[in-house]
Symmetry: C2
Subunit: 248 residues, 2 copies
Amino acid sequence: MAASESTRPHRTALAAPARTGTCSTCGARAASVCSAIEDHDLSRLEAVAETVRMAPGTVFITEGEPADRFLNITSGTAKLFKLLPDGRRQITGFADVGRFLGLAAADQYGFSAEAIDAVTACRFSRARLGQLIHDAPQLEARLLRIASTELAAAQEQMLLLGRKTALERVASFLLERDASVPVCLGSGSGVSLPMTRTDIADYLGLTIETVSRTLSTLRTRGLISIDRPTEISILLPDRLRALAAGEG
Amino acid sequence: MAASESTRPHRTALAAPARTGTCSTCGARAASVCSAIEDHDLSRLEAVAETVRMAPGTVFITEGEPADRFLNITSGTAKLFKLLPDGRRQITGFADVGRFLGLAAADQYGFSAEAIDAVTACRFSRARLGQLIHDAPQLEARLLRIASTELAAAQEQMLLLGRKTALERVASFLLERDASVPVCLGSGSGVSLPMTRTDIADYLGLTIETVSRTLSTLRTRGLISIDRPTEISILLPDRLRALAAGEG
DNA sequence: CGACGTGTTGAAAGCTATCAAACTTAGTGG
DNA sequence: CCACTAAGTTTGATAGCTTTCAACACGTCG
């Protein structure tokens, strides 16, 4: 992931790992809470944060464990989920670059988090977040804004899970993913899906078979093309949007 | 919240409307954000807040409209929901006494709110919330805590909507309602349901028929008794909890 | 008393899940 | 370079849970 190979087609720039402990050069800063911190306060942040790397499949937050740490994703994508005793899983969201994780009013994490691809993150303790907020009060307003945004997204997802059909769910998912990609290359509407069909199914409240069948239906209808399982192009965005909104 | 009539069976004490503009005697204060405000700051709060009364069925927040006001429920229960163009509805939550409404990072409300029974609330503008936070910074921490708690609840509801069966959903709902009743009378486990079956269905992602059938099933199995449509008793809380957790 | 809104129960249909098998992709080693 | 393996994906057939359509019961209220 060295940024030296600038001719590579994919998202290598975004995947560049943060240099350990140098917030001022952190590629995720602009997209994260840290943008709320002034330059002259960054040194203080560096002092309390550590950079961690997680291999794909690593569970780095476990529901029910003491919520004593926060992290900020600096590269890669993670899935956040909750489990039922018999193994049924609901993915509550995907966390990309800049996502702040660990917000919890309770003493325990309310969800688990697992790295999908290689994930790097900036980590610090709950106590130190308190320090940071004390030093930079605007951080708290920023966190409130983040929490509000996540809450709105959660409510939108409740609408999806409770009232949308499989076709509408998959359409919504593709558009959401499309919008989430920061500054992709000029591939038009190429949606990249680092997660498996199982992950998508557990996010949309469906089975992998239904996700696969639904994607095939969208392809047959000409709304999308499935270039590879992990790469989908949106051909008719307007019709896909209509579907996602429940007007299809 | 006059405690003078202590012999009355139901929640009449809670339903007593707040005296207009007197925060210091507001019955909802202890349960709301306002508990974060010191006594000597309350007069300032009174100056910027107005008390509003909504009749049952009143829609007092509409999705998509400018989010320029906040309110704090002082009595009654409201339903929060999102709609699809064809009328499908997802209720994202019920707001009881003390609930703070209007948190939104966006400029528009992300949901609508409608009074279920008679609702009274304390209302103030977004600009004035800024003033309040400026005067009482601990308010912001409190709001962050509230948002985090709501976020955790939303994630739990996503698990319910995406992965639980009708039986598990209804069991979860009854237990949630049971826990939400502040200090009910000593009726054991009497759950009061001010909302209709339609509301319950739209909250659980089911139809009214399925809700009704599922309640009947729970009654047949001896887990609950349906005293009235709006009043249900939990007879076997352990088995209901097991069901709700997905172990049933 | 009758109308109406709400809730309950029944029968059939539909969408998605489950079970099963073929196919594709990526990685490995001959 | 290609065969082989394992994981993931796609497609097919069937089953099941919930929805839909319909009728009846209950309680309120004019």
